[in-house]
Symmetry: D2
Subunit: 289 residues, 4 copies
């Protein structure tokens, strides 16, 4: 067509490259396996204008080749964290593709737990855990520094005590009743940025997650906002290498059922959990400069 229009931004890559890696250790006379399951996404930015405007594929790394690269690097990598593997994958892609200006790798790790049999961990059998995902996003421009953001998603948690919601605005469309004692359920998503790229990412993740859960459990909550903020603070306290953290905490409402209509008390016991509509609370907390 024309020069009336221009390519403003573009990126492309491969998504949902799934990968199970089993590591087999000698263990006395026996073997023991470790395993993980990852879902990898690779995205590239760069000099792809003529691909769009002229159908010139000469600078295009096929997304199928990216998929092969994910597996190839997984096979040779000794990385023990998503973040370290992603750094290797970004480096490999950038070094072989000068037409790429920056590469981003995003990984979701699915929960698998070792089976316990007769009270003992089994050497080579596993069970899927919850839908909680551990995530990592590593990005780097040619000649640039790594930007590393880790996270988690779908961590569904509930407090059955110590949650109130009072003192909010009352206006003509307000029908919600104030409560000193409600169920507080949410599906926590979090992402946090590191100030360095050579950390023990698994150890940091473990500390940060435990700090947030401890605060969630112990908090005397006056609102989702207040508990979210306290959880973010405790994360930043627990892991000094994190510069800022974003939390998203949808309010998965559990509604108290009116049984008095039927002549029966309901002393905060029987609730209907609802998926929609859902409150949505999101905030980013960072260190003061």
């Amino acid at each position: 067509m024309s020069s009336k229009f221009q390519l403003a931004e573009n990126r492309y890559g491969k998504t949902r490259v799934r990968l199970v890696k089993v590591t087999r250790h000698a263990h006395g006379p026996n073997q023991i396996s470790d395993m993980f399951e990852w879902n990898v996404r690779v995205l590239l930015r760069g000099d792809f204008e003529t691909a769009h405007t002229e159908g010139d594929n000469s600078k295009i790394l096929a997304t199928d080749t990216m998929k092969n690269t994910v597996y190839y690097i997984a096979g040779r990598s000794k990385a023990t964290s998503m973040e370290d593997y992603a750094k290797e994958l970004v480096d490999f892609l950038l070094s072989r593709n000068p037409q790429v200006s920056s590469a981003e790798v995003h990984i979701e790790s699915v929960l698998w737990k070792r089976l316990t049999v007769d009270g003992k961990p089994h050497p080579d059998s596993f069970m899927r855990g919850s839908n909680e995902l551990q995530t990592a996003t590593v990005e780097r421009a040619q000649d640039g520094e790594f930007s590393i953001t880790s996270g988690l998603e779908n961590l569904v948690i509930m407090k059955t005590a110590n949650s109130a919601f009072e003192g909010y605005i009352k206006e003509s469309l307000t029908t919600l009743k104030e409560t000193k004692d409600r169920l507080f359920a949410t599906s926590l998503s979090a992402s946090w940025s590191y100030i360095a790229d050579d950390l023990n990412f698994e150890a940091e993740r473990t500390k940060l997650r435990a700090a947030m859960l401890k605060t969630f459990a112990g908090h005397i909550s006056l609102s989702v906002q207040q508990t979210l903020y306290a959880m973010a603070e405790s994360a930043l306290e627990a892991v000094p290498s994190v510069s800022e953290i974003e939390l998203t905490m949808p309010n998965k409402h559990c509604l108290l059922i009116d049984l008095e209509r039927f002549g029966q008390e309901n002393p905060n016991e029987i609730f209907v959990p609802t998926d929609e509509p859902s409150g949505f609370i999101q905030a980013t907390v960072k260190r003061t400069a």
Copy 2:
């Protein structure tokens, strides 16, 4: 229209009645909560022909009323198992509705686990577990006996060793390679029938599930069929009050990735897990008469 056609079978009810029940115990100076989340379905059969043919609703218990009944019985019940609660609900519905010939209650229980904080179980905070569902189906006709079937679904498990598949039919459309060592992943569903209706259903369930998992983990598997059968046998061994058990074990294939194309070995380490197509293996095993 006409007498050319007739109502052959019919049933109706309410599905997806969700319910969270929190039980609050005194605990020294403090309180401790237990909670569960159920998804209840009620189905009725009976004398509903004129409802279909004439729009006569005089024998119809509204499904909205069934929903209220689920909550009402949950509020007053002391049952500690799905099966016992379902029995109460079936009895209540049958006693008040002589036009109903039989009532069935099916319950799915969602996994929630108590949060651990600083190594200790927290009194009132919980975390969603895996997508594994515990199920119970209780049915009774007016003046009949309870039929009780319990089960579980979506128990996703994997063996990384001791699984082979060899010796199957080779024909002109066969391309699968034999293997002495593959990943074996499945999403187990099971349902089992009890020979009595006054059991400690939670205890029986726990024993049966542990027996199946122990067999899965320890089995030297020559096929999914063989492992399935061994798991069913161990379930029947573990719980004499179960008369028969049906297991469904889709084969969630994990395919070994060919890295030799890239000059790299893949000693049974890097796999791609696939959702489709999927093997499907199902069998019922019962006690010999």
Copy 3:
């Protein structure tokens, strides 16, 4: 283990074998494509006891080979209906596998529609339709006759007029208000059995589906039960080769919102559609013997 237990029933096969078939027709100087997308399941029953009890795979047709067979038969078949293709696939499997006592093929066909460009059907571009699935299940035992059941699922429909629900049982747990005018939304599933195996299945399906939809739209509904029965009758009227039909019509409730609290009328206009809980209505209607 033992002869204390026995294999009661078993079947196995391959599920979720997905398939797109494009047929390219010459069309004057140009080409025109037809296409469909199917999801195929193959299940076999037969002499598989030693596979379960001894790990003997010598009678096992690998499920991977079934997948290859699905594609191989699709490549050579001239069938224009799911039912006719399924018959070919069943015949092929039974003829080559004497150890198989019966074979069942189930197919779901996904909706794709030809794109319209400038008011004309485009020769080779298509768009996904709704989530409605057309289904077919064909089963045959060695030396037996075909059993053919066709169906549809997920046909989501709504009436905004001519739907009432009154005169139902009022009891102590009833809170639902009677209504002469409600929204009636459902996700229709239907399956019907043919009395012959050599029909024009596509033509029969089209007639049956149109008859049901016409009745749904035109019915003065006193209940879901009554409308369901009328739809079943019209299906049996429209297609004499169908012997019986089962309909499932969950009541996807749309609740009228109370705006009078806010000083505003709501003359049956603003509703909240809900996914759960859901009414469930199911009946089979057959020809009178």
Copy 4:
């Protein structure tokens, strides 16, 4: 805790507020209904720091009240587009809540189509269409201008001809074969920004969508990138009031099945559609300044 940390960004609101609106027109002696189904999200930013740090809810509009507001405005609005309704809702929220600095309303509209019976449109019966969503996002700060972005999602389309992919980089990890003739399937998402806020949004949407589909169908595609760019250009050509458009076109791969292994040709006819892994192509095209 402390002043070591600060609230950087925050927003909150209500998501998944579902709404069916039925409009009943007199129509000669009869009535005819129109209806739509929307899924509404409201998000507010503003002076909510003490809510986070002190649990002070005095400036918090409860998300339940937002839900009521969605229904209240829907009841009184005469708007015929999502965009115009969203503007009313934003105005209402901002005018009553000075503590809110900006409000954003996002709406997804679900496809419903009028039923055709005996070749004629039915006055009050409807059928769900595909999963394609029409979307609108309207945002405004106190005393600011509206920012209006419209879009669509999940528009799944396929070309069975005129799609090639050749000339891409060949390197040591490349295994993809070049093709002059492949299936090209994608799930189109698009969002576009308007330069004004008082347009006939429904008319603009219809023109833009038709232009993209026409280009998709007619394009001689050398790559997804090239087709995406051509579709974006045609959208900008068709609707001068759009300043820029972002398209996302995952490559939903359909893989040609190798039937030659079985002595059978596969002349570009039998494919396996795959959900994962998936190519991902995204670009923004704008008018040249």
